[in-house]
Symmetry: C2
Subunit: 429 residues, 2 copies
């Protein structure tokens, strides 16, 4: 009856700050020329190149596109436009590792295809997340009917194989998804629910985390769930009590039944931030059409022939998107928001939740989010004058920056306040 392994810590107080001061930093940057001498009293151009905050989206549709590009095959115009808009706004991608579609035939995983896509994103300074290593839906048919011990062995092997195969490219994983419902899930026969029921939720989570950690000790592993009730709190406390380290807490936030609003969102953040684990809002959907009726419990049960985006809906969605991002960034524990789909073509459930219309033109929500991420919260190329010691003060959103002068440039990171930087400009970039 030891409490020695409990990772539960008394909740800290987090100050919600709509000014987002906690997202910004200031540094004194000393700029040196290629010769090492300070570039005194000179004009330099400082610009931001990336955000520390993860503005994410899924990249499911781009897997095939990236593979066509890699194979030198012709690409689709829609995909080209889609990809361009994708990279113009996002710096984190979630790629699909659903066991049932990743390895539809036992022993023949789509490793190469996903690796090609993952590398394509990573080369573009996008943080790649794999989703998910353990879940009870989108499961392989071939897992059904196997004894529990065999299911567990195969599940453990699959975690080790995929975290190993993708290490260095995918170092961020939803280790396990939707465990609250996992052992009592009844909508679909699958191999994982009986395993979770027999092992219990906590040991099922331990299995996911320990296997992924064993192969990729540097990976950032999430516990992810859609259940925002006290059930998820109890599950987190169970996991902490069991001495399992959750690197990040994943909160889904599909809002097909209506936008949560600022108050509810902050209430949820207050409850889940008390575990002192950084929060990723892993799956956000906000509609530009009619909401799904409230009486639907499992969102998958809402099957409609057509679910159109409407002009009023597009305006509302833009307002909600802006408030949603502002609200989440105002809470210091949130470090990532992954939107669940970019274009209405191919959205989950056929919902009009994209930021682009069916034809890839931007909805107001896309422009509104862009105006924040690459506008209000972004430092465009800005001319600054160095002092006699070659120094400039740079203040901006935390992230990656570039300073350039006379055809030479160098990068630096704006991370914490008073984090001064020394950069030496080089022509090679």
């Amino acid at each position: 009856m030891s409490t020695a392994t409990s990772h539960f810590t008394p909740p800290a107080r987090y100050t919600v700050d709509p000014s987002l001061a906690h997202r910004r930093a200031t540094a004194v940057v000393t700029v040196r020329g290629a010769d090492g001498a300070p570039l005194a009293d000179a004009d330099v151009v400082v610009e931001q190149t990336n955000h520390e905050f993860l503005f994410g989206n899924i990249g499911f549709e781009l897997v095939a596109h990236a593979n066509r590009l890699a194979a030198g095959e012709p690409t689709d115009q829609y995909d080209e436009t889609f990809a361009e808009r994708w990279f113009d706004l996002f710096n984190q991608v979630t790629l699909p590792f659903y066991w049932g579609t990743f390895e539809p035939v036992e022993g023949a995983p789509r490793t190469q295809e996903l690796l090609t896509a993952a590398r394509w994103f990573a080369e573009r300074d996008v943080v790649v997340k794999g989703h998910p290593l353990v879940w009870h839906t989108v499961q392989p048919r071939w897992l059904l009917g196997k004894p529990l011990e065999e299911v567990e062995r195969l599940q453990r092997e699959r975690i080790r194989r995929d975290t190993a195969d993708f290490a260095g490219v995918v170092d961020l994983w939803d280790a396990i998804n939707e465990v609250v419902i996992m052992p009592v899930f009844t909508a679909e026969e699958n191999g994982i629910t009986p395993l979770a029921r027999a092992k219990g939720r906590v040991e099922t989570i331990r299995m996911a985390f320990e296997e992924a950690r064993a192969v990729n000790p540097g990976a950032t592993l999430l516990l992810n769930d859609f259940d925002m009730s006290t059930a998820y709190e109890c599950l987190i406390e169970a996991v902490l009590e069991a001495g399992i380290t959750i690197d990040r807490l994943g909160l889904q936030s599909h809002q097909h039944q209506g936008y949560w609003g600022r108050e509810k969102t902050l209430r949820i953040l207050d409850r889940f931030s008390r575990y002192n684990i950084p929060i990723h809002m892993t799956e956000t959907t906000l509609l530009s059409g009619e909401p799904m009726p409230k009486h639907i419990v499992d969102l998958n049960d809402w099957q409609v022939a057509s679910w159109p985006s409407t002009p009023e809906g597009e305006q509302r969605q833009a307002d909600e998107i802006e408030e949603w991002y502002r609200t989440l960034l105002s809470h210091p524990q949130v470090e990532a928001i992954t939107y669940w789909g970019l274009g209405d073509r191919g959205m989950w459930l056929g919902a009009p939740g994209g930021l682009l219309r069916e034809d890839a033109t931007p909805k107001p929500s896309y422009d509104r989010l862009h105006a924040l991420v690459k506008g209000e919260w972004w430092t465009p190329p800005t001319t600054l004058r160095t002092d006699a010691a070659g120094r400039v003060d740079v203040t901006g959103f935390r992230g990656e920056y570039r300073v350039s002068a006379a055809g030479s440039c160098a990068g630096f990171t704006l991370a914490t306040d008073a984090g001064d930087a020394e950069v030496t400009l080089t022509t090679a970039r």
Copy 2:
């Protein structure tokens, strides 16, 4: 990261048996006279005197009555009738140990009054349960504003004091109540919610169990909740994972918003029995009037001037009571059902959930339950003939029995099959 302390065990399969065969036992009883010789070829009368199964009710109103009796003060006719009907049906009582009413003035607990009542029940072969040692409502005002460390110290002391003072009379406790909501409870300022938030649910539960266990190691301790969602499952798994032994799992079952029905009840039992911990249905209410609207979340929010029992409601309640008890007894993991109030006078929320009307006359539900507990499931005085070795076969519901012949008698327990008994009749009883 040791799993050594986890008390999670793979779920067993429990067979639901409406014939209640698992509630019965058979024994060969050898009856001897006062001289020790077998009572051969003789008529003996066998009768049941108690059930092993706990058919419980609260005894809140009888606390004052028991104290008046003990003090030799005049009693009320209603209370006399109420008490008579109480003891004619129930063998387990839940007494109120709400901290706020038990110790309204710091240092002046109502120990003597409750002890008098508890003993009064215990002397009548009633198992006495204390409810609850830790909870966040009905809290003392004087606890407010104290620092967390002080609240914890006082809470620990109160558990030790009361479990010690009542040991031997009250050995069954709701150690802690409604922990799922405890740290996020907002309806009422109290001293316990902030403590639960800071310690976390699991360590709050550990506090309750370890203090009670330290003082009364033989006590049977329950974790009790009204939340039948996956949240309670997750909490139980957290507690098992933390190596805390839950002796019995308490499931409240206030059905003010409508009877659960057989199917839902069995589904709940299936989910909660998988922890291999015997289940007590600790707080049952079934109405003989209109149900509370479904949109009410906290039942305490439903405040009505009048909530009448109706003739149709009384018939429905009787049917529901019968099905409810039959269903629960059909599941082998259930070992207690505590109904939450006997008479409509003084029911929680003023609900018409009593088995007696305001004037203490029995509703059909009382008679229906009586016909089960003291009829169909009960062995009345029955004449049996011993064989040449003084033996009779006795089959019946598990519990306490008495055999008598020619003015002498002896008791025996019908507990497990093939549990034969030897009894020696004595005149003294």
